[in-house]
Symmetry: C2
Subunit: 297 residues, 2 copies
Amino acid sequence: MTGSDTLLFDRIALIGAGLIGSSLAGAVRRDQLAGHIAVAARSQTTLDTMTDLSLADSTSLDAAEAVQDADLVVLCTPLGAYESVARTIAPALKPGAIVSDVGSCKEIMISDVAPHLPDGVHLVPGHPVAGTEHSGPEAGFAELFEGRWCVLTPGPEADKNAVERVRDMWRRSGMNVEIMDAGHHDKVLALTSHLPHLIAYTIVGTATDLEDDLKQEVFKFSASGFRDFTRIAASDPVMWRDIFLKNSDAVLDVLGRFTEDLTSLQRAIRRGEADKLDEHFTRTRAIRRGVIDAKQE
Amino acid sequence: MTGSDTLLFDRIALIGAGLIGSSLAGAVRRDQLAGHIAVAARSQTTLDTMTDLSLADSTSLDAAEAVQDADLVVLCTPLGAYESVARTIAPALKPGAIVSDVGSCKEIMISDVAPHLPDGVHLVPGHPVAGTEHSGPEAGFAELFEGRWCVLTPGPEADKNAVERVRDMWRRSGMNVEIMDAGHHDKVLALTSHLPHLIAYTIVGTATDLEDDLKQEVFKFSASGFRDFTRIAASDPVMWRDIFLKNSDAVLDVLGRFTEDLTSLQRAIRRGEADKLDEHFTRTRAIRRGVIDAKQE
């Protein structure tokens, strides 16, 4: 089942076809990981786009129809839709089917999805840590996953064979796969991804509220620093709204730490404490080296 | 004097040779903007590097020696050195010489430099808004300025010819040049550059304080969001320490606005206000379009 030219799944169903869903479809197609790709989405336009891009073998506006006979079902919707999707697909799932996802929070699979699944269906939550600021099926590309990390949070009682097959799918899509506890994942990502996005959304909002002439200059002189924040803050609003609501405990915790640290630097600036600033900025430079060594740049 | 194959200056002197100083030397060399490039720096290693890169015609550890007979002197040191450099070079400046700089704050030229300059010397403060997270003379490259904005803040009584010559130098280095009030510049940059850097330094510091195992994971999963912050927070510590100290009023002002906005989003997350988050994130997406339209991406 792990050979590079063997089908991993006869039929997979993608529920939702945004940036990640369409990129996954592209990787599955490119590497011939499944015999049939069924796609469900809320809009016919999205489904038509997936068909036009040859990324769907069958499409449906009804998620229950899409998951019929599927060996693997992958939720690719915003987190806020998980519970209703789980309710919808549960009666139509094939015995022994694997249910996975690509969402940025993982405890939600335990809270919002697992309770609705019938016995004999295997839950293997997943999070391919990759993305761009673009959204929608046209924004997808199979190479998005190349060299990035994918976290799976199957829990101790998960079916080993099911975990192995999901792991293989992401590996063959180019990712490094790591198994982790769902709660731990949500804490790590709160810091590395959710907090940075919240901050970027905030500072870009602060700029939006400026008077018009100042705002034009903010655009002009964005080369240094601000530009990176605007890119992050251009990410999909609904996706991010749901992440903050579904991972609110971990986000509010790291936000508290961040605010303490920011207040401390603010105090150092107000009091003119050069040594303290110097020491802090020198220390942060080293962590960049860590990121480069971890090959995430 | 503005012809593209005419020397703009017989002799220019660069005080300091980090990323910006060496990039400027590279552009001056490439476009033959000056007959002679004199470079002063605090370390012989830096001077030797500039000589090896053919970016200096003469070098000196003494800034006063370097500025002798120079038509244009450009301060390229951290802001904290401006006052002592101004005191050092003042007696050696040629009558009619232009004194400019490349610093990220502009009121400092009025407060720390202007009082020390002799009569008959022209002050034309400048800020090429361009950079990378790398430092030192080896990090420089002449193309750094291409298509970016350069702000000049000469003040109403400045010598028009002197302003024109400095403007020409940056234009011929590839920049768009804008004239602005120094205080206004410092406010705009506090938001577009200084605050983003402060925030990036803070969040990367927050991560540095985590337990070791969590820290390793922060590196691994930095692909989404955090990575951009680590890049910003790898910028030169001394340069940034000085920016925050020298532009503290404007930085503390925008920091106050930012903190208010962040607290408001924090409250929305804690109270589960989906509509409020949705509305905010949708609004910030538009400003990205503004940045792209302003060609800073």
